[in-house]
Protein backbone atom coordinates (compact mmCIF):
# COMPACT_ATOMS: atom_id res chain seq x y z
CA UNK A 1 0.00 0.00 0.00
CA UNK A 2 2.91 2.36 0.54
CA UNK A 3 3.72 2.46 -3.15
CA UNK A 4 0.15 2.85 -4.35
CA UNK A 5 -0.28 6.27 -5.94
CA UNK A 6 -2.50 8.59 -4.01
CA UNK A 7 -4.99 10.71 -5.84
CA UNK A 8 -6.33 12.64 -2.87
CA UNK A 9 -4.52 15.97 -3.57
CA UNK A 10 -5.71 15.83 -7.18
CA UNK A 11 -9.30 15.29 -6.03
CA UNK A 12 -9.14 18.15 -3.53
CA UNK A 13 -7.64 20.59 -6.02
CA UNK A 14 -10.08 19.55 -8.71
CA UNK A 15 -13.02 20.01 -6.35
CA UNK A 16 -11.87 23.46 -5.26
CA UNK A 17 -11.14 24.66 -8.80
CA UNK A 18 -14.27 23.14 -10.32
CA UNK A 19 -16.68 24.51 -7.71
CA UNK A 20 -15.20 28.01 -7.84
CA UNK A 21 -15.31 27.91 -11.65
CA UNK A 22 -18.99 26.95 -11.74
CA UNK A 23 -19.91 29.66 -9.23
CA UNK A 24 -17.88 32.26 -11.16
CA UNK A 25 -19.38 31.18 -14.50
CA UNK A 26 -22.90 31.53 -13.10
CA UNK A 27 -21.98 34.99 -11.83
CA UNK A 28 -20.64 35.94 -15.29
CA UNK A 29 -24.01 35.26 -16.89
CA UNK A 30 -26.20 36.63 -14.08
CA UNK A 31 -24.45 39.65 -12.55
CA UNK A 32 -25.93 43.08 -13.09
CA UNK A 33 -22.59 44.85 -13.31
CA UNK A 34 -20.62 44.66 -16.57
CA UNK A 35 -17.20 45.18 -14.96
CA UNK A 36 -17.94 42.53 -12.35
CA UNK A 37 -18.82 40.10 -15.15
CA UNK A 38 -15.37 40.66 -16.68
CA UNK A 39 -13.70 40.11 -13.30
CA UNK A 40 -15.67 36.91 -12.64
CA UNK A 41 -14.58 35.80 -16.11
CA UNK A 42 -10.97 36.15 -14.92
CA UNK A 43 -11.74 33.62 -12.18
CA UNK A 44 -13.18 31.14 -14.69
CA UNK A 45 -10.21 31.53 -17.04
CA UNK A 46 -7.74 31.15 -14.18
CA UNK A 47 -9.59 28.00 -13.11
CA UNK A 48 -9.22 26.60 -16.60
CA UNK A 49 -5.46 27.29 -16.38
CA UNK A 50 -5.41 25.45 -13.04
CA UNK A 51 -7.14 22.46 -14.61
CA UNK A 52 -4.51 22.44 -17.37
CA UNK A 53 -1.83 22.29 -14.68
CA UNK A 54 -3.70 19.38 -13.06
CA UNK A 55 -3.69 17.66 -16.45
CA UNK A 56 0.11 18.14 -16.64
CA UNK A 57 -0.21 20.44 -19.65
CA UNK A 58 1.86 23.33 -18.42
CA UNK A 59 2.47 25.07 -21.74
CA UNK A 60 -1.26 25.32 -22.44
CA UNK A 61 -1.80 26.68 -18.92
CA UNK A 62 0.77 29.44 -19.38
CA UNK A 63 -0.68 30.30 -22.78
CA UNK A 64 -4.13 30.40 -21.25
CA UNK A 65 -3.00 32.90 -18.61
CA UNK A 66 -1.05 35.04 -21.09
CA UNK A 67 -3.62 35.14 -23.87
CA UNK A 68 -6.89 35.05 -21.96
CA UNK A 69 -6.24 36.88 -18.72
CA UNK A 70 -3.49 39.04 -20.15
CA UNK A 71 -5.04 40.02 -23.45
CA UNK A 72 -8.67 39.05 -23.89
CA UNK A 73 -9.96 40.27 -20.53
CA UNK A 74 -8.11 43.57 -21.05
CA UNK A 75 -9.76 43.77 -24.46
CA UNK A 76 -13.14 43.22 -22.79
CA UNK A 77 -12.44 45.96 -20.26
CA UNK A 78 -11.48 48.30 -23.10
CA UNK A 79 -14.71 47.38 -24.88
CA UNK A 80 -16.70 48.16 -21.72
CA UNK A 81 -14.92 51.50 -21.35
CA UNK A 82 -15.26 52.51 -25.01
CA UNK A 83 -18.98 51.75 -25.09
CA UNK A 84 -19.36 53.91 -21.96
CA UNK A 85 -21.17 51.26 -19.97
CA UNK A 86 -22.32 52.48 -16.55
CA UNK A 87 -19.84 51.35 -13.94
CA UNK A 88 -22.47 50.54 -11.32
CA UNK A 89 -25.44 48.22 -11.59
CA UNK A 90 -27.50 48.45 -14.74
CA UNK A 91 -30.94 46.96 -15.26
CA UNK A 92 -30.91 46.47 -19.02
CA UNK A 93 -28.24 43.78 -19.39
CA UNK A 94 -30.64 40.87 -19.61
CA UNK A 95 -33.47 39.97 -21.93
CA UNK A 96 -36.99 39.81 -20.54
CA UNK A 97 -38.11 36.97 -18.30
CA UNK A 98 -39.68 34.87 -21.06
CA UNK A 99 -36.47 34.84 -23.09
CA UNK A 100 -34.42 34.06 -20.01
CA UNK A 101 -36.67 31.10 -19.21
CA UNK A 102 -36.30 29.84 -22.77
CA UNK A 103 -32.53 30.24 -22.45
CA UNK A 104 -32.48 28.30 -19.20
CA UNK A 105 -34.61 25.55 -20.74
CA UNK A 106 -32.30 25.26 -23.76
CA UNK A 107 -29.25 25.18 -21.49
CA UNK A 108 -30.71 22.58 -19.15
CA UNK A 109 -31.92 20.28 -21.92
CA UNK A 110 -28.53 20.53 -23.63
CA UNK A 111 -26.90 19.71 -20.30
CA UNK A 112 -29.20 16.71 -19.88
CA UNK A 113 -28.32 15.33 -23.31
CA UNK A 114 -24.59 15.84 -22.77
CA UNK A 115 -24.56 14.37 -19.27
CA UNK A 116 -26.47 11.31 -20.52
CA UNK A 117 -24.07 10.83 -23.42
CA UNK A 118 -20.93 11.34 -21.34
CA UNK A 119 -22.03 9.09 -18.48
CA UNK A 120 -23.09 6.45 -20.96
CA UNK A 121 -19.84 6.39 -22.88
CA UNK A 122 -17.00 7.57 -20.64
CA UNK A 123 -17.85 6.56 -17.08
CA UNK A 124 -15.38 3.65 -17.11
CA UNK A 125 -12.40 5.68 -18.42
CA UNK A 126 -9.81 7.15 -16.09
CA UNK A 127 -6.94 9.59 -16.51
CA UNK A 128 -4.17 8.11 -14.42
CA UNK A 129 -1.45 10.70 -14.48
CA UNK A 130 0.26 9.84 -11.22
CA UNK A 131 3.37 7.84 -11.95
CA UNK A 132 3.93 8.88 -15.54
CA UNK A 133 6.16 11.78 -16.49
CA UNK A 134 5.07 14.80 -18.48
CA UNK A 135 7.18 13.54 -21.36
CA UNK A 136 5.41 10.20 -21.39
CA UNK A 137 2.12 12.05 -21.48
CA UNK A 138 3.27 14.03 -24.51
CA UNK A 139 2.70 17.38 -22.78
CA UNK A 140 6.14 18.95 -22.50
CA UNK A 141 6.74 22.25 -24.26
CA UNK A 142 9.39 20.57 -26.39
CA UNK A 143 7.02 17.88 -27.64
CA UNK A 144 4.23 20.35 -28.28
CA UNK A 145 6.46 22.69 -30.25
CA UNK A 146 7.88 19.73 -32.14
CA UNK A 147 4.48 18.64 -33.28
CA UNK A 148 3.28 22.18 -34.05
CA UNK A 149 6.24 22.75 -36.34
CA UNK A 150 6.23 19.33 -37.98
CA UNK A 151 2.95 17.44 -37.98
CA UNK A 152 0.59 20.39 -37.64
CA UNK A 153 2.63 22.94 -39.60
CA UNK A 154 -0.04 23.66 -42.22
CA UNK A 155 -2.85 24.29 -39.67
CA UNK A 156 -0.41 26.50 -37.74
CA UNK A 157 0.28 28.64 -40.81
CA UNK A 158 -3.43 28.82 -41.59
CA UNK A 159 -4.11 30.02 -38.03
CA UNK A 160 -1.39 32.68 -38.42
CA UNK A 161 -3.05 33.97 -41.59
CA UNK A 162 -6.42 33.91 -39.80
CA UNK A 163 -5.00 36.05 -36.99
CA UNK A 164 -3.61 38.52 -39.51
CA UNK A 165 -6.97 38.67 -41.28
CA UNK A 166 -8.79 39.21 -37.97
CA UNK A 167 -6.33 41.96 -37.02
CA UNK A 168 -6.83 43.83 -40.28
CA UNK A 169 -10.58 43.22 -40.14
CA UNK A 170 -10.83 44.62 -36.62
CA UNK A 171 -8.85 47.73 -37.61
CA UNK A 172 -11.01 48.28 -40.69
CA UNK A 173 -14.20 47.86 -38.67
CA UNK A 174 -13.22 50.02 -35.73
CA UNK A 175 -11.53 52.99 -37.41
CA UNK A 176 -13.47 56.19 -37.87
CA UNK A 177 -13.74 57.44 -41.41
Amino acid sequence: MTNAPTYLPEYIMFGLIASSMVVAAVRVVTTKNVVHAALWLVLVLGGVAGLFILLASEFTAITQVLVYIGAIVVLFLFGIMLTRAPLGKSADLDNNVAQRIVGALVGLSLLGVMVYGLVNRWSDQKIELVGSSTRQLGQTTEQISDSIFSTYLVPFEVVSVLLLAALIGAIVLARRD
Binding site: V28, L55, L75
Partner: protein, 111 residues
Protein backbone atom coordinates in the same frame (compact mmCIF):
# COMPACT_ATOMS: atom_id res chain seq x y z
CA UNK B 1 -9.32 10.64 -11.72
CA UNK B 2 -12.33 9.81 -13.81
CA UNK B 3 -12.20 11.52 -17.19
CA UNK B 4 -15.90 12.24 -16.72
CA UNK B 5 -15.06 14.71 -13.95
CA UNK B 6 -13.43 16.98 -16.52
CA UNK B 7 -15.98 16.26 -19.24
CA UNK B 8 -18.98 16.95 -17.00
CA UNK B 9 -17.43 20.17 -15.68
CA UNK B 10 -16.87 21.25 -19.28
CA UNK B 11 -20.49 20.36 -20.13
CA UNK B 12 -21.76 22.47 -17.22
CA UNK B 13 -19.62 25.44 -18.30
CA UNK B 14 -20.78 25.02 -21.90
CA UNK B 15 -24.44 25.11 -20.87
CA UNK B 16 -23.90 28.15 -18.63
CA UNK B 17 -22.32 29.83 -21.66
CA UNK B 18 -25.26 28.88 -23.88
CA UNK B 19 -27.65 30.32 -21.30
CA UNK B 20 -25.59 33.52 -21.23
CA UNK B 21 -25.67 33.88 -25.02
CA UNK B 22 -29.45 33.46 -25.03
CA UNK B 23 -30.29 35.49 -21.93
CA UNK B 24 -27.95 38.48 -22.21
CA UNK B 25 -28.80 41.57 -24.21
CA UNK B 26 -25.56 43.50 -23.84
CA UNK B 27 -23.16 42.78 -26.73
CA UNK B 28 -20.02 42.58 -24.59
CA UNK B 29 -21.67 40.12 -22.19
CA UNK B 30 -22.72 37.89 -25.09
CA UNK B 31 -19.07 37.79 -26.19
CA UNK B 32 -18.05 36.83 -22.63
CA UNK B 33 -20.51 33.94 -22.69
CA UNK B 34 -18.99 32.77 -25.98
CA UNK B 35 -15.62 32.77 -24.21
CA UNK B 36 -17.08 30.45 -21.57
CA UNK B 37 -18.18 28.05 -24.32
CA UNK B 38 -14.77 28.07 -26.02
CA UNK B 39 -13.01 27.46 -22.71
CA UNK B 40 -15.15 24.46 -21.91
CA UNK B 41 -14.13 22.97 -25.26
CA UNK B 42 -10.48 23.56 -24.36
CA UNK B 43 -10.90 21.64 -21.10
CA UNK B 44 -12.23 18.70 -23.11
CA UNK B 45 -9.38 18.81 -25.60
CA UNK B 46 -6.62 18.90 -22.98
CA UNK B 47 -8.33 16.22 -20.87
CA UNK B 48 -8.51 13.87 -23.85
CA UNK B 49 -4.89 14.65 -24.70
CA UNK B 50 -3.81 13.67 -21.20
CA UNK B 51 -6.06 10.59 -21.31
CA UNK B 52 -4.48 9.50 -24.58
CA UNK B 53 -1.00 10.06 -23.20
CA UNK B 54 -1.83 8.00 -20.12
CA UNK B 55 -3.17 5.19 -22.32
CA UNK B 56 -0.28 5.09 -24.78
CA UNK B 57 2.82 6.65 -23.21
CA UNK B 58 5.09 8.50 -25.59
CA UNK B 59 8.55 7.09 -26.03
CA UNK B 60 11.73 8.96 -26.81
CA UNK B 61 10.87 9.00 -30.51
CA UNK B 62 9.48 12.10 -32.09
CA UNK B 63 5.90 12.48 -33.18
CA UNK B 64 3.70 11.67 -30.23
CA UNK B 65 0.00 11.43 -31.00
CA UNK B 66 -1.06 12.66 -27.54
CA UNK B 67 0.19 16.17 -28.28
CA UNK B 68 -2.86 16.71 -30.50
CA UNK B 69 -4.88 17.67 -27.40
CA UNK B 70 -2.84 20.68 -26.25
CA UNK B 71 -1.96 21.65 -29.84
CA UNK B 72 -5.61 21.80 -30.80
CA UNK B 73 -6.40 23.72 -27.60
CA UNK B 74 -3.74 26.27 -28.59
CA UNK B 75 -5.42 26.64 -31.98
CA UNK B 76 -8.77 27.18 -30.27
CA UNK B 77 -7.20 29.85 -28.02
CA UNK B 78 -5.84 31.60 -31.12
CA UNK B 79 -9.18 31.50 -32.91
CA UNK B 80 -10.88 32.78 -29.74
CA UNK B 81 -8.50 35.74 -29.64
CA UNK B 82 -9.29 36.54 -33.28
CA UNK B 83 -13.02 36.17 -32.58
CA UNK B 84 -12.92 38.55 -29.62
CA UNK B 85 -10.96 41.14 -31.61
CA UNK B 86 -13.43 41.19 -34.48
CA UNK B 87 -16.43 40.85 -32.14
CA UNK B 88 -15.44 43.84 -30.03
CA UNK B 89 -14.79 45.88 -33.19
CA UNK B 90 -18.35 45.02 -34.26
CA UNK B 91 -19.70 46.01 -30.84
CA UNK B 92 -17.87 49.35 -31.11
CA UNK B 93 -19.45 49.90 -34.54
CA UNK B 94 -22.85 49.08 -33.05
CA UNK B 95 -22.26 51.64 -30.32
CA UNK B 96 -21.21 54.25 -32.85
CA UNK B 97 -24.21 53.73 -35.11
CA UNK B 98 -26.99 52.99 -32.61
CA UNK B 99 -25.65 54.76 -29.49
CA UNK B 100 -26.26 51.52 -27.57
CA UNK B 101 -24.90 47.97 -27.55
CA UNK B 102 -28.30 46.46 -26.93
CA UNK B 103 -28.41 43.68 -29.53
CA UNK B 104 -32.21 43.67 -29.41
CA UNK B 105 -32.24 47.14 -30.97
CA UNK B 106 -30.31 45.97 -34.01
CA UNK B 107 -33.41 44.91 -35.92
CA UNK B 108 -33.06 46.96 -39.10
CA UNK B 109 -33.36 43.79 -41.20
CA UNK B 110 -36.58 42.68 -39.52
CA UNK B 111 -39.48 42.58 -42.02
Amino acid sequence: MLINAYLLLAAVLFCIGVYGVLARRNGVLVLMSIELILNSVNINLVAFGAWWGAQQPCGAAQGCAATIGPVFALFVITVAAAEVGVGLALVLMLYRNFKSIDIDQVDSMKG
